[in-house]
Symmetry: none
Subunit: 227 residues, 4 copies
Amino acid sequence: MTTEEAGSRTREAAEAAILEDRQTGEATAPDEADGQGVAVLTGASRRKLESRRKLFVERGYHETRPQDISKAAGVGHGTFYLHFEDKLDCFLAFTEEAADELEIFVQTHHAVAGSLEEGIRELLTAIFEYSDKNPGVLAAALTDISVLSTGDTGKKMPVDRWADVWAQLMEHWKETGEAFAELDTRMAGYLIVGAIKQGGAYGFRRRLERADVIEGMARLFVRALKK
Amino acid sequence: MTTEEAGSRTREAAEAAILEDRQTGEATAPDEADGQGVAVLTGASRRKLESRRKLFVERGYHETRPQDISKAAGVGHGTFYLHFEDKLDCFLAFTEEAADELEIFVQTHHAVAGSLEEGIRELLTAIFEYSDKNPGVLAAALTDISVLSTGDTGKKMPVDRWADVWAQLMEHWKETGEAFAELDTRMAGYLIVGAIKQGGAYGFRRRLERADVIEGMARLFVRALKK
Amino acid sequence: MTTEEAGSRTREAAEAAILEDRQTGEATAPDEADGQGVAVLTGASRRKLESRRKLFVERGYHETRPQDISKAAGVGHGTFYLHFEDKLDCFLAFTEEAADELEIFVQTHHAVAGSLEEGIRELLTAIFEYSDKNPGVLAAALTDISVLSTGDTGKKMPVDRWADVWAQLMEHWKETGEAFAELDTRMAGYLIVGAIKQGGAYGFRRRLERADVIEGMARLFVRALKK
Amino acid sequence: MTTEEAGSRTREAAEAAILEDRQTGEATAPDEADGQGVAVLTGASRRKLESRRKLFVERGYHETRPQDISKAAGVGHGTFYLHFEDKLDCFLAFTEEAADELEIFVQTHHAVAGSLEEGIRELLTAIFEYSDKNPGVLAAALTDISVLSTGDTGKKMPVDRWADVWAQLMEHWKETGEAFAELDTRMAGYLIVGAIKQGGAYGFRRRLERADVIEGMARLFVRALKK
DNA sequence: CATGAATGAGAATTCATTCAT
DNA sequence: GATGAATGAATTCTCATTCAT
């Protein structure tokens, strides 16, 4: 998605667009919408419904009612179901939105990344910057699917997407000979995501300095991965 | 708990007791696994209520009703509330029970652990053995508290306990000079728990060989920690 | 409410409107009989929910479930909570409705009241006529608040409203010199309301002739109040 | 009941016995117990169960559970049902106990009463003294039966007993020619009880001076009844 | 497209009462 | 007699979703 666009933007611009609630993002988001009931709308109410983010982040999935989202968006209850199949669908939309934003961060940061060491540090910085501007969003978006519904929805969750991103990077570092050869990049992707999620939550709770958290993580990740 | 007893048992015996649903544990567990504010009830129904585990694991917190637990235990609805203050209290009891069990595994494995490398491998083995015998229990017990209730309950969750265990081990390895000096053991404890949780889920979903998962994790952890 | 309308109606007409379940009252009552915090809903279900009266009167507060009221009204359980905050709120709405109706009776009767003696007799007549047409309503509406909820709700209960009405009348009779000068009208208002409530219940149980009950009360009240 | 005893006691002694929680009352209370399941017991637990009074007064009927009464009495749940048929039976026992106590007050005060005027003032004084020593007891004991259960229990409630007492007194005053001849003493009994109940509640809420409340009531009652 | 009144299955919890010990 | 663990019908209230307008 929007990779060509992202390429033509400066890194700062791309991030700014995201952080300022995607006023320029309109051109991109609808693209991903398939012709089906979900996320079909382009107009005002779709943008309004993005108020879901605030609610899901602050209250969590189970404490947020479709009604709340509609109300916060200033639309009627019924309108909610013109945009989302159901509550879970709405949550996944939020989740994907967050993943999209993060992906841009990751990509733009990677563009300038040189060595494995610099790259990891850059990425973590990007992630925590994002987290700083969007407090709680990652934690909320990484909510375990099993908590949301019983049956496996088959949906690709943000965890998977993000793990992929890391896996690809590590694959790249394997090719450049910076990462050790036996590295199982898929597995390592999940391990890193898990570590970041838990470590991030810990740092948040303990109100640790962002720089310290990043440094602590980076050191361990670099040691773990470097040849 | 039962540390003196655990000492007198062989490691296998101790684990077996746990894994076989604690037939020998009765003398110890029911007395202290409670501490929940509700009257410390012993007797038939309390033990029966341990059926909660199966349900929380299979369906998750939100899909398990107090009624289900009572029914599975073969007792009346009201009996549930003689043993637990409310649903959350019941879940936390399950959670602590699992943490207790795991702690024994970790302790007994550590007892024989020699080097950092062996130690990590041992621990991971222990954890995955436990997970193998108690499928899903760890994942369920590590459920994020924020998903369970709105307000912070102030309870120490299994994640914290487990992170502590790892932190202490790493502290030990720092003293023996096996772990690198600048290691922030607290943070690293959380990172490892997060990684194991996510990696474990990944391995479970992909039906990976346990040995491979352990090996993959161990390699990374050792690299990350060793001097 | 509807004071100007009541003025233009004959006394009989105004009462009839009330007693015949307010078919003409629709224009006025639904708009203000609410004031309850929950959205001011008009429309079918609100009027239907007035079936609460029958239930509260026949079964009393504790024997009437929100569900019963909904069912009697032919609406769903959930609808109940669109109109009332909770069960108590619903009861208080009934209570206020009854007080409103009674107030009109009292006012219209007072309009024609001449002397203290005539006035008292008129009022009692009005009250018992109302009670006759709405059997049990006053008794139910005068239910002691302490029976309904633990904490003081701070709400002005019908007893207070009605005591006020009597107090004002007595104040008037003090001014005209018909009532004795030292009369504490506030206190006397409560005494009279209490007496009517208990005496009414007694008369109802004993199936006494309405005229006799009125006469018995009137005689005592007149003696007590007249200069 | 115990009229001969009451007669041989001084008024002060009789009241003291009541107010000091009836240490001497044991000889009397059991007398009234019939040979049936209810109130059969004489021993320790019966006296203990009298803690019901505090609970019914403070929390009201619906907020007081048999369990609470048992607990307050320091006996087991089951013991409750050895003494009372059910919760309502227990409440009525409390109610009768209060009525008994009040009756003694009323009788002893009446013994010294001379004129109608003095008599009324004496009685009111007695009642409010009792209420002062036993705050809330009368209000609780006068709880309307309809609030307690659906079907008429056929039990004679305290209201009735008390109304009777007043009726008898008024009958007496009719005979002495102090009360006006046409007085319907039965009805008037209820009117007075109702007035006292409501007026007492009002005075209590407004924290009026007891003397003022008594004076206010007495004046009205005397005016209403005197020839 | 948009609405919001209406819905009713379902959730958590309570409590009067029983009965085996 | 005394106990208190056990019960399950019953209660209040919620909330994801629908559908007539």
